[in-house]
């Protein structure tokens, strides 16, 4: 099955997503698809916090900051449960690879293709995304283009997902389908 998990910064969505992935996997392989690019100490700390959360749970980490379809080749231990964290980083990395800015539509297509491939190849796919949409601020055009692309990717992922969950102050609230 495919599960989409959304929430804001510090909402506890990662911890919930891990719990979900572990319980779906049972005895089968568990993969963690990491999308974060590390630029500084803050990023490093974030990665360490997430690594500590995952420690001892049997995840094989695949670093895939861009080019999601390629991640399929990393499923070296066979079919299993993939935890993809997270779409907001992935879309940002694809859109802003360096100086230039990629078109939101192209990025959307690339990411959605990757999601479809993973959903086919994995037994279970748990996707984490980020609710970046509710601060009521009108950002400049580039950021808006990013938000729009992520919004469409989220909508696509929610469409193919069997279950969509919002995590609020660490509590899971069902949006589509049932809670696991």
């Amino acid at each position: 099955m495919t599960v989409l998990i959304t929430g804001g910064s510090g909402s506890g969505k990662s911890a919930y997503a891990e719990k979900t992935a572990v319980s779906l996997a049972g005895q089968s392989p568990l993969y963690y698809l990491a999308t974060m690019k590390i630029y500084d100490d803050e990023g490093r700390k974030k990665v360490h916090r997430h690594r500590d959360l995952r420690a001892g749970k049997g995840f094989t980490t695949i670093e895939q900051p861009t080019d999601l379809p390629k991640a399929v080749t990393g499923l070296s231990r066979g079919k299993g449960t993939v935890l993809l964290e997270c779409l907001s980083n992935l879309v940002a990395n694809e859109m802003f690879p360096g100086e230039e800015i990629c078109s939101g539509v192209e990025v959307e297509q690339r990411v959605c293709r990757g999601i479809c491939l993973l959903a086919q190849k994995a037994e279970h796919l748990v996707i984490v995304t980020n609710n970046v949409f509710e601060d009521g601020i009108r950002y400049e055009d580039t950021t808006c283009a990013y938000m729009e692309a992520l919004g469409r990717v989220n909508t696509f992922a929610a469409g193919i997902a069997d279950s969509v969950v919002e995590v609020v102050v660490g509590i899971s609230v069902p949006v589509k389908g049932k809670l696991l």
Binding site: G8, G10, E42, V132, F133, D135, G136, Y139, V168, V169
Partner: protein, 127 residues
């Protein structure tokens, strides 16, 4: 302890006061220069996110503070805005505030007997 969260201007305080019958004189409002009553006497902390923000600005530890308050006042009702549902700010201090408040609310929610999320003045019980 009970936790009530929601976006800006969603009628959280009114919802809580109507529901509980607590008088406004028992509300500690972190957004006011004169908060209304002392924290130890308060039945409700309103604008908890502002309290956390002020603590961080002053270089103080909000987690430790609320832990102590809850020992003295375990039946407290805490009302806070949700601030994490937006674009991650470019400013490091603002990122820290969102992240710390988010984690703090997760911890409080875990301990709370009841958690409600308020939208358009209507409460949705999520715990």
């Amino acid at each position: 302890m009970e936790l009530y969260i929601g976006g800006y201007a969603q009628g959280k305080l009114n919802y809580v006061l109507n529901k509980t019958g607590i008088p406004i004189s028992k509300v500690y409002d972190a957004a006011e220069t004169v908060p209304g009553c002392s924290l130890t006497e308060a039945a409700v902390i309103n604008h908890f996110h502002i309290l956390v923000k002020n603590f961080l600005l002053e270089g103080k530890n909000p987690e430790e503070f609320i832990r102590k308050i809850l020992i003295e006042n375990p039946g407290l009702i805490i009302i806070s805005d949700e601030v994490g549902n937006g674009i991650v700010p470019a400013d490091a201090q603002k990122r820290e505030y969102r992240e710390r408040l988010g984690r703090l609310l997760c911890n409080l929610a875990e301990k709370a007997e009841r958690v409600e999320r308020i939208l358009c003045g209507i409460g949705q019980k999520i715990k």
